[in-house]
């Protein structure tokens, strides 16, 4: 794995200039289905499923690294902005810019600095997640009822205790909601990592500059969708576990 992270694992990748090899077409297992590039070729799919395991793993690493880094940064920014209100607007503006820059442009901006590879992709993806997580967390913190923080202070919690024992736990549903949106979008966006030589399922979708191999797109796309659903479900579950008070019958 270190090799693709360090120097770009896709030897004949898109940015490298070479057209993707015509693996698909030398492989005759699909027969005429492949030649005609039909919507979905089951035979080929069954015989070639293992070629998706590495890209899937790479995709996972891209998403998890980007969201984890994004979470740590956005969380810290939100805490800072909560303590010092005047920081809120600049942070929102800055993360907003990062959110809006198309990832592909970002790859090219980063190329001179971080070169090609997964690191570049992860940086761009991380930048994308910041705004979503930051915005949700600040909303969550702002929605904590003032009388609750007032009471917390009044009974003797320090400012730090109010933050960690009251405000952040109460903002947790919104924080998790932000993570869910960020994760699902990152799963989709990470397919573009291939343009930075960053690997992932995108490599199985963009297989050449002017070739669309439909079966491959469908398989890679399905894996991405499945991944998004699994992440979403896991986060949903985490959210439920972290906010038991939200589930009580009234």
């Amino acid at each position: 794995m270190s090799s693709w992270v360090a120097d770009g694992w896709l030897a004949d990748g898109w940015l490298a200039g070479a057209a993707v090899s015509s693996d698909f077409f030398r492989d005759r297992s699909g027969g005429g289905c492949i030649q005609e590039n039909k919507l979905f070729c089951p035979d080929w799919a069954i015989n070639n499923l293992d070629r998706y395991s590495d890209p899937t793993l790479q995709h996972l690493v891209l998403v998890v690294s980007a969201v984890a880094a994004g979470f740590v940064i956005a969380f810290s920014l939100a805490v800072l902005a909560h303590r010092h209100r005047f920081l809120s607007s600049p942070f929102l503006a800055a993360t907003g810019v990062l959110y809006t820059i198309p990832s592909i442009s970002f790859f090219f901006l980063l190329l001179p600095i971080t070169g090609r590879g997964a690191v570049t992709a992860i940086i761009a993806l991380t930048a994308f997640t910041l705004q979503i997580i930051f915005r949700n967390m600040t909303t969550g913190l702002r929605n904590v009822p003032p009388e609750v923080t007032e009471a917390a202070r009044g009974v003797g919690l320090t400012a730090t205790q109010v933050l960690w024992k009251v405000e952040i736990p109460l903002a947790m549903p919104e924080i998790i909601a932000g993570l869910r949106i960020a994760t699902v979008s990152t799963v989709a966006l990470a397919t573009l990592a291939v343009f930075a030589n960053g690997g992932g399922l995108g490599a199985e979708i963009v297989t050449g500059s002017n070739i669309t191999f439909k079966t491959g797109i469908i398989i890679a796309g399905s894996i991405a969708i499945l991944m998004a659903i699994v992440f979403d479900a896991l986060l949903l579950l985490t959210g439920r576990l972290l906010a038991p008070w939200k589930r009580v019958a009234l």
Binding site: P145, E147, V148, E150, A151, A152, R153, G154, V155, G156, L157, T158, A159, T160, Q161, W164, V166, P169, L170, A243, W245, V248, A249, L250
Partner: protein, 407 residues
């Protein structure tokens, strides 16, 4: 967790058998020319306030909205920092030491209650003991005792605040404030958001608790009726947190210091005196009681000379069951189920004003009075109340004799 566990005060050493009662010695609170000016304003919210609240008493700060009551109260636990002057708890200035540590030693109850929605009732009540580093077992024991004290089913300990009614939540708010048995309590319109019926119940409960706990309480309200009912002493504030009069409720009603106080107390001062006395303090009528199965003959004879012209059926525990009608008495024996029920029943602990309200609402001229366990203690009638209002013309000495409803 920036603050380490603070030094435990002496009373924290043995929380295990900490009784609900008067362990911590109440401490007086003294304002010394305290002023507060909020940044960006051009006059003091509280101006040179001097006030002495004796230990173990409820001092009510009352006054129109915006006169500085909340500000004055919050400077005690430094949730608002004073601009000048000093506040002493006992002989210690609140300015000394860390504000968060100070607050842990002062009970704090606010109108919006402010329970932690993500913590169970037990966790809410155990907040301050937790901050002070009590062991889990100690906290558990204390929470259990407090749930009992506020008359909440122990099962509620595992519930979340949103599962409780407003009145129950405010009880929990009071329990949370009492958790480490602080000598001083601050209460900012604690019952202001509760419906009138539950408010009066919570007020009675708190007075009952206070009779036992004897905390030094600063109680803020804008409702002069509540002030008269709750206060051992009342400070009427006018704008700028200046004291217009600091007096016992009786003095306030008998001798308002000036027009402002007179206006604020209201034209119905005479009626307000009804809040100075509890039903149990009034000279209640003696009920003509009988039990199911008694022969009706003697009952009829006794009724002829009784204060209450109807006989009241009580059960074996002397809980009122119902009033006997003429028809009931026409039988040989007193029936088990008389024609009219005994309600309304009046709580002996309620104030005369609420007792009168109950009577007027029900359209009865008299009603049985029962104690906390439901046992009959007498009969309250409209006559008793009108006599109290006229006869006493409630001279000051009379009132001094009954002085505080909860003493």
């Amino acid at each position: 967790m920036s603050a380490g566990p603070p030094a435990q005060t002496a009373q924290d050493d043995d929380p295990g058998d900490r009784p609900s009662g008067n362990q911590s010695t109440a401490t007086p609170v003294k304002y010394e020319e305290v002023s507060k000016r909020y940044p960006g304003t051009d006059s003091d919210a509280v101006h040179e306030l001097s006030l002495e609240v004796p230990a173990g008493e409820i001092c009510v700060l009352v006054g129109p909205s915006g006169c500085g009551k909340t500000t004055a109260m919050r400077m005690v636990n430094r949730t608002v920092e004073m601009t000048s002057g000093d506040i002493l708890i006992g002989d210690r200035s609140v300015r000394q030491g860390d504000a968060a540590e100070l607050r842990r030693e002062i009970g704090y109850v606010i109108q919006q209650i402010g329970l932690f929605p993500h913590r169970t009732i037990a966790e809410n009540i155990g907040t301050v003991p937790g901050l002070l580093g009590w062991s889990r077992a100690e906290i558990e024991q204390r929470v259990e005792a407090l749930l009992k004290l506020i008359d909440l089913n122990p099962e509620f300990g595992d519930r979340y605040p949103s599962q409780l009614s407003g009145g129950q939540q405010q009880r929990v708010g009071v329990a949370r404030a009492l958790a480490v048995d602080p000598p001083v309590m601050l209460m900012d319109e604690p019952f202001g958001a509760i419906d009138p019926i539950n408010r009066s119940r919570l007020q009675n409960e708190f007075l009952r608790l206070q009779a036992e706990l004897r905390k030094t309480v600063l109680f803020v309200t804008h409702d002069v009726d509540e002030a008269i009912k709750m206060g051992d002493r009342i400070a009427i504030l006018r704008k700028g947190g200046e004291v217009a009069q600091f007096a016992t409720p009786t003095e306030l009603l008998m001798e308002p210091a000036d027009d402002f106080v007179e206006d604020f107390v209201g034209a119905d001062r005479a009626l307000k005196r009804l809040a100075l006395m509890r039903v149990s303090d009034a000279s209640l009528w003696k009920a003509q009681i009988c039990r199911a199965g008694d022969p009706t003959g003697p009952v009829r004879t006794d009724l002829a000379s009784a204060e209450v012209p109807h006989a009241l059926l009580v059960d074996a525990e002397s809980k009122p069951v119902g009033w006997l009608s003429e028809r009931d008495l026409a039988a040989e024996q007193v029936p088990a189920r008389p024609d009219s029920p005994a309600d309304p029943l009046i709580d002996a602990d309620s104030i005369l004003r609420d007792g009168l309200a109950t009577l007027l609402q029900s359209g009865s001229r008299y009603a049985p009075v029962v104690d906390g366990r439901g046992h009959l203690t007498g009969i309250l009638s409209v006559e008793i109340i009108s006599e109290f209002l006229s006869s006493g013309e409630a001279t000051e000495s009379d009132l001094a004799a009954v002085e505080r409803p909860h003493e």
